[in-house]
Amino acid sequence: MSALRPAPSWTDWVPGLALARVGRRGWGYACLVLFGSLVALACWRGDRVIEAVEAITASGYVEGRTLTPDAALDVIIAALVLVATAALSFAGPLFASRAIDRPAETPLRPVSRIRSRVLANRQVRAGGVLLLLLYLVALLAPLLSPYDPILIGDLDTARLLPPSFEHPLGTDRFARDVFSRLLWGSRVSLSVGLLAVAISVTLGVLVGAFAGYAGGFLDGLVMRILDALLCFPTILLVIACVGFLEDRSIWLVVTVIGLLSWMDVARLMRGQLLSLVQRDWFLAARGLGASAPRIIFRHLLPNALTPILVVSTLRVGNVILLEASLGFLGLGITPPTPTWGGMIHESRGQIFSEWWIPFAAGLAVVITVTAWHLLGDGLRDALDPRIGREEASPQAIAPARRATA
């Protein structure tokens, strides 16, 4: 970056170009493309938003209106997301370009140093950008999808159509547009991963901190139980909990997966605590008379956070795989809610004739999970080259080796 700021020009007000002018070409053009496509989407789907606003504001029945209040709300939320993202991709580069331009006289603060190391990692960047796009697609699904994902179409003329201009991925047995279902299905996969991991990490951290801090008999008891629970294939436990139920909502699946997959996080947390309590600052905190909760939450937890963050990121990918597998077995979220695993399950009889349905749905799973794994791998490399390289394996429990000494 040159210290000389380029002369102001009107191009600085085109989103992203300002960033490109100070040397960040990749980010700048990416922002420009994003902003452009969002504006194009807004123009293309403007009528749908207007219709949704009318459907919400109008009271009572109106002739010829097809949008239900829920669907209209979805559209409006998506429109708000679109406006917010567009504003960000417009204003972000402007501020960023000014910040970059400032001469760097003061050394970076530790936090910024970590941030720049994380952002410099190629895997983090690839995974992060992919995930941003995927989550954007999920949020904008009501605007992006050409047809309703659940409404059954014309069974006489529109069943099992091959891919065409109107239906990019053809239609399924119920004459629903597969492309629309794919877009809406991303909402399930992406939210199940995040929510279930949030539950399991919270539980795991609490149990692990408890066991590690309590020590002695309680610690031994908790660890024995964890060991034994880890011997059961998670998918079997999840099937035992949800398989026999008639109505499996997304909340049910999220809760069950979250409650059944906290064990290895607990173990990692405990191992971290055991090594942290040997440090001097721990002794100092204890000597100063800090209470146990204060020591755990103010001193120990922040120091154990890095490996937990890495493992949780990798974990999101594995949970998405688990949910898709459940869906494939026909034991996932109840139809007609579109899910990627469920779409493959529904097309089981037509693998050889309508191969594009399972192909596209599976590819979507692979891309999403790869993105999460890329992010996790990169975070691990960037944050600490040494911490648990083993966590990358699906076994994801290897840190246990360090846990007991």
Binding site: L230, C231, F232, I239, V365, R389, A392, A398
Partner: protein
């Protein structure tokens, strides 16, 4: 490695009075307690879950009541639970399968060998492939080959096994190349049942696709893990010392590097088993392989709680036994524990 020195997870090998027999006994005892706890939870969940095994058929209400009486489903749950547990403990009687109309024990005895065949084949395949590819990548670290292996293993590792199975099925069983048959264990269209050697050859042909599907995901994970371990070992001083003594590269790799990487591999071995068995549930369902996994899924659809519980019991026991075996191997091979004895 940061933190305390690595030691086998549940086993306190360095503590006073650590004898192998006691360790094994303790593990078995804890395992049994947990197994029964899980069975109880399973039983309660299945009891609470809605859905009737006899609903939806063309029976009248009276017939349904009759059927429930016949299978003993009209009695209170606590009574059935105690009877069920007693049956398991005293005579290994797991109840009656509504899906297959025979005792659960018989159904399990039929399906268990098939599952063992599939999982063991996949296990050997994934470990062999994983160690070979991981070592190869570590030796060529930083090259394009290494990069390609890393990208491929990341993608494979992120691929759901059912998707891999469906793809392989499409390519090799139905689409372009009809190399390996896809469904089941034998070709059901054949009129005369096969005998002896022919039967086993037929089964092996049918085993190819499911075993590869099950093995590939695990192989990718093992490759990633082994690559890291080998890289760790290569950097250490004793390898440099071995080189300085003029020992050949091949000998260093086999006698020194792989030997040192063997212990961490052994630790992960037991922990990877639940994933193998969980994968078998899915892969068996994709390929119609008549094993426990496929049966578990079908028993859920048939609301056959007794069969599902029986399968859970057997699969969990399989994993526990494998874990125990890995622990014993570990005790036998780790130099630290050898000294402790």
């Amino acid at each position: 490695m940061s933190g305390p020195s690595p030691a086998r997870r549940a086993i306190d090998v360095t503590g006073p009075g650590a004898s192998v027999v006691w360790l094994v006994l303790r593990r078995i005892l804890v395992a049994i307690v947990i197994l029964f706890a899980v069975l109880t939870i399973d039983f309660a969940l299945l009891e609470l879950a809605p859905g009737e095994p006899f609903a939806g058929s063309e029976d009248t209400v009276e017939e349904e009541v009759e059927l429930r009486k016949l299978y003993g489903l009209d009695r209170p749950a606590t009574e059935r639970y105690s009877e069920w547990i007693l049956g398991i403990v005293t005579s290994f009687d797991l109840g009656w399968s509504l899906l297959r109309h025979e005792p659960v024990t018989d159904v399990l005895a039929d399906a268990l060998p098939n599952t063992l065949l599939l999982t063991l084949t996949a296990f050997v395949l994934q470990l062999g492939l994983g160690v070979a590819i991981g070592t190869f990548a570590a030796l060529r670290r930083g090259t394009a080959t290494d990069g390609a292996i890393r990208v491929t293993s990341l993608a494979l590792y992120s691929t759901p096994s059912f998707y891999l199975g469906v793809l392989l099925l499409y390519v090799f069983a139905g689409g372009g190349f009809q190399i390996a048959p896809g469904g089941g264990m034998e070709d059901v269209r054949r009129g005369v049942p096969l005998q002896g050697m022919d039967l086993w050859l037929e089964r092996l042909r049918h085993l190819v696709l499911p075993a590869i599907t099950l093995a590939l995901g695990g192989a990718a994970a093992w490759a990633r893990f082994v690559r890291g371990e080998v890289l760790d070992v290569i950097r250490q001083d004793f390898i440099l010392a071995a080189r300085a003594r003029g020992i050949g590269e091949k000998r260093i790799l086999i006698r020194h590097v792989l030997r040192a990487a063997f212990i961490p591999i052994l630790t992960l071995l037991g922990l990877s088993l639940p994933f193998l068995v969980g994968g078998a549930v899915i892969v068996e369902s994709v390929f119609g392989w008549p094993g426990l996994g496929q049966l578990a899924v079908r028993s859920v659809f048939a609301r056959d709680a007794a069969l599902f519980l029986g399968i859970s019991l057997v699969l969990a026991t399989m994993v526990l036994a494998g874990n125990l075996l890995a622990d014993l191997l570990y005790l036998a091979f780790d130099p630290r524990t050898r000294r402790a004895r």
